[in-house]
């Protein structure tokens, strides 16, 4: 495979880095003015709740499903995480319980159907 030009790669990283940093940092400079808007203040507390919910669903649906075993493993592990957390509300237990099940389910050798 032909090697990609070094200076091009560095420029590409620099461009993506500057754009990403600007998106993250610039809004803080105008945050004060935005927060004075009453309507923004009212929805401010609901934003994280909604965004975290969206990120959770994104994490679930963006898993690459290449076999029924991965699909079943993911469904099983997410259900386990949900149930464990609703019952015990222990973050470590919910996360590692779910992850342990997931790793087990996708790696256990099963004859392909």
């Amino acid at each position: 495979m032909k090697m990609v030009d070094t200076s091009y790669l560095i420029e590409a990283v620099a461009v993506a880095s500057v754009v990403t940093f600007s998106l993250r940092a610039l809004p803080f400079l105008i945050k004060g003015a935005v927060l004075r808007q009453k309507v923004i203040l009212a929805i401010k507390s609901s934003m994280p709740y909604g965004i975290v919910t969206i990120l959770a669903i994104y994490a679930i649906v963006s898993t690459k499903i290449t076999s029924w075993q991965i699909a079943a493993g993911e469904a099983l592990a997410i259900s386990a995480t949900l149930v464990l957390h609703l019952l015990k509300r222990n973050v470590l237990l919910s996360i590692f319980g779910g992850t342990f099940l997931y790793v087990l389910a996708i790696n256990v050798p099963i004859a392909r159907i």
Binding site: S46, I51, V52, I54, A56, I57, A59, T81, I106
Partner: protein, 246 residues
């Protein structure tokens, strides 16, 4: 009973304990990001890119999903303008994060700038919720440094070791999925307002169906607009609710 006499510093101590607990939870994310970073490093070298490309992107960009996209773009030799536009599209969701991210709790411009630079999804999810145990200041910076270090060291290890890394390891990336699920449940239980969570879930699923490749930004901006609409139609109730919560 002694229990009934509250010392004046008790609320402060209580939230300090909660913050310590949040900090402990945050360290799970380091593990998750390290594993994902290893996966990213492997992808970079599999695409025929040099190993140091994984080190550069993970150190200086620090935006997981965009870095995967960028690795694809540079192998196609996309123009720098195209890279800038795609970065803008993929990462524009961070604009919304600034509303709730406690950057003002840092002292000095360097700490503030770094905290903004390292405002990844994981840090936002952890900090924006949390109620009384909300991380801030030095603890928040430590969490962000840990996230940055985990992602960058994972990417370096993955790029250097490449195919030597057992495939079965990738399953541990589920830690992050599980963590977001747990945080979403906590948010729903803490706010006692199920409708916001249901609205966000519907928007997320619809965005995935309509625009799977740009799901996050579509979902987050749609959610923002819907919240604005809901607030302007039922503002009276909503403001009463927020006042009670505060």
């Amino acid at each position: 009973m002694i229990d009934e006499v509250k010392s004046p510093d008790e609320p402060e101590k209580h939230s300090e304990d909660l913050r310590r607990k949040t900090f402990a939870d945050a360290r799970i994310m380091w593990l998750g990001l390290f594993v994902l970073g290893v996966g990213f490093g492997v992808v970079v070298v599999e695409k025929g890119l040099p190993w140091w490309f994984a080190v550069l992107t993970s150190t200086f960009i620090l935006a997981g999903s965009l870095e995967f996209v960028l690795a694809g773009l540079v192998t196609l030799h996309s123009s720098l303008v195209a890279i800038a536009v795609i970065t803008l599209l993929v990462n524009s969701r961070h604009v919304f994060y600034s509303l709730s991210f406690p950057i003002e709790t840092h002292e000095g411009p360097i700490a503030k700038a770094y905290s903004a630079f390292a405002m990844v999804d994981e840090a936002y999810a952890l900090v924006a919720l949390g109620g009384e145990g909300r991380l801030r200041g030095r603890q928040l910076l430590k969490v962000q440094l840990g996230l940055h270090g985990s992602w960058a060291s994972g990417a370096t290890v993955g790029a250097l070791l490449g195919n030597l890394i057992p495939r079965s390891l990738s399953g541990f990336g589920f830690v992050l999925t599980a963590l977001f699920v747990v945080l979403a449940i906590d948010a729903a239980l803490d706010s006692k307002d199920l409708s916001t969570g249901i609205l966000a879930s519907l928007v997320a699923v619809l965005s995935f169906v309509i625009a799977p490749s740009s799901m996050l930004i579509v979902a987050i901006s749609a959610f923002f607009v819907l919240l604005l609409l809901r607030e302007s139609t039922t503002g009276r109730f909503a403001s009463k609710f927020t006042r009670r919560v505060q």
